[in-house]
């Protein structure tokens, strides 16, 4: 059959995946701590139909051969860990990380997941949890009768008791960093898991050794740039259309041969 059919098919499916990536980014344009994805395209291998330099006769050789590419594929999606804009909310349990690093969350199976979403809440036991109710790591318990919590830029959490002017330190947040954050695996719920590609987690105190500072009363917005995504959507749609036109052209050629001959 016509090779162009299969080549254009790879173009269509790659643009399709690009559009899914764009729509997921746009859907999360206001998700706190969301990091946008970028689809990475790669040209597939080339098939040599005729070797350049082949002999045409005893004295002459072909100056150029014929290499046909077999299309395009999505090599992967690349998480972009640029920082989102910071938004001041004045809520005592809203945290943002200004700089590198991730907060740690304890999964029900005992593993640790990593997140940039600092919308914390207190559960019925008084423990600090993330918005889906998972315990923070290290666990921080807010004693009963606390009427004010302060979190310092170094992650130290202080609780003020009713009628006591002196705060008590109830815990400290650690941050974790990776040499290649793009290699982290997203598992939904704004959580990331460590992989072989991300490297081992590097623990640190907020504000020291290159770790970001923790800002109380602030949230980190999604780093999705709506204009960029819309522009990408336009080019994706047009390239998709052109590829589908090639498919219909190839199809009408095959139709023509069956009807003419």
């Amino acid at each position: 059959m016509h090779a162009a059919l299969y080549v254009s098919k790879t173009g269509l499916s790659a643009q399709d995946k690009q559009l899914s990536t764009i729509s997921n980014n746009l859907a999360n344009a206001s998700t706190v701590g969301f990091k946008r994805d970028r689809a990475v395209f790669e040209d597939l291998l080339y098939q040599i139909q005729r070797q350049p330099g082949g002999q045409t006769n005893r004295d002459n050789e072909l100056p150029s051969g014929l290499q046909l590419g077999v299309g395009v594929r999505v090599a992967g999606t690349n998480k972009q860990f640029t920082e989102g804009t910071l938004q001041v909310t004045e809520q005592a349990l809203d945290l943002a990380i200004d700089g590198r690093g991730f907060l740690q969350v304890l999964l029900p199976n005992g593993d640790t997941a990593y997140t940039r979403n600092g919308q914390l809440q207190i559960n019925s036991d008084g423990d600090l949890v993330n918005s889906s109710g998972l315990l923070m790591e290290p666990n921080i318990n807010v004693p009963e009768g606390t009427n004010k919590i302060t979190i310092g830029t170094d992650g130290i959490v202080n609780a003020y008791q009713e009628g006591d002017p002196n705060p008590t330190q109830i815990g400290q947040f650690d941050l974790v960093d990776f040499i290649n954050p793009s290699g982290l695996q997203s598992v939904g719920g704004n959580l990331f898991l460590e992989t072989a590609a991300s490297g081992d987690p590097i623990n640190g105190t907020p504000g020291e050794n290159g770790m970001g500072e923790i800002l109380q009363g602030t949230l980190e917005n999604s780093n999705v740039d709506i204009v960029e995504e819309m522009v990408n959507m336009i080019t994706t749609q047009r390239v998709y259309e052109l590829n589908s036109k090639v498919v219909s052209t190839a199809d009408s050629m095959l139709q023509f041969i069956t009807q003419t001959l």
């Binding site: 173009g11 690009q18 395209f41 790669e42 597939l44 005729r50 290499q67 290649n180 590097i202």
Partner: protein, 247 residues
């Protein structure tokens, strides 16, 4: 039967091959750093003996790749670089040999090796570039990679290495089966200090979609003409066999 049938057949077959080459360009119209391939037809004459020289078969070939720079797309990412004007970035191919590319969306792997998005190590002054644990990484106009080591202040930037940038002339380079660019003689291109990169940008594909699509359409019409020729040859031989059977 007239051999014109076979001439039309090679024409139709090579039209389809040329279309495959153009559709590959179109499929890669959104691929970062992709370079479009040209396709052209050559007539291959087979003129043996006496008679009218009418036997020329068509042959499609890729004479070259279009190395005209593509559009620069702003991303703002520290590890995205696009070459301004002409030039190529040196990478290590799957076999460990030096090859060249225009793909500049880089990333650092778990061992700190600087790689392209497709996983090929970038070559520095002496082999692959290894990045120490850092809190900020910067790539300068001339490809110097500098980092702010974890825990150091912004005043203490450490230079790690310089990305090897080359600028061989177009006549000397070609695209290989894996999409990477190599010197035709298999050698290694020398560093060219005049090549500059734009950090925070990636280079789009240089495929001209209108041109490619027009080519696909005109090839499709040419293909229809080849088939019409085949039809004519068939009719000719039909009528001659009719004439012969009557006598």
């Amino acid at each position: 039967m007239d051999k014109a049938l076979y001439i039309s057949m090679t024409g139709a077959k090579n039209n389809m091959m040329a279309q495959a080459a153009h559709s590959n360009n179109l499929a890669n119209a959104n691929t970062t750093g992709f370079r479009a391939d040209f396709a052209q037809a050559r007539s291959m004459g087979v003129y043996y003996g006496d008679g009218h020289p009418t036997r020329a078969y068509a042959m499609t070939e890729n004479p070259a790749t279009n190395f005209v720079p593509g559009p620069l797309i702003e991303t703002g990412r520290d590890l995205d670089i696009a070459i301004e004007g002409e030039g190529l970035i040196a990478v290590q191919d799957r076999a460990g040999q030096e090859a060249y590319t225009r793909v500049g969306d880089l990333s650092v792997d778990a061992n700190g090796i600087l790689r392209t998005s497709t996983g090929l190590p970038i070559i520095g002054t002496g082999g692959p570039i290894s990045i120490p644990p850092d809190q900020k990484i910067m790539i300068s106009n001339d490809g110097i990679v500098s980092v702010q080591i974890l825990g150091d202040g912004p005043e203490e930037l450490a230079q790690v290495d310089q990305i090897k940038l080359v600028r061989p002339v177009w006549e000397d380079i070609e695209k290989g089966e894996d999409g990477l660019i190599r010197l035709k003689d298999g050698g290694i291109a020398p560093v060219d200090v005049n090549v500059t990169v734009a950090p925070g940008f990636v280079e789009g594909s240089n495929v001209n979609t209108i041109h490619e699509f027009t080519e696909v359409l005109s090839l499709s019409r040419q293909y229809e003409m080849q088939l019409k020729m085949m039809q004519t040859v068939e009719k000719n031989s039909e009528s001659s066999s009719k004439l012969l059977s009557q006598s």
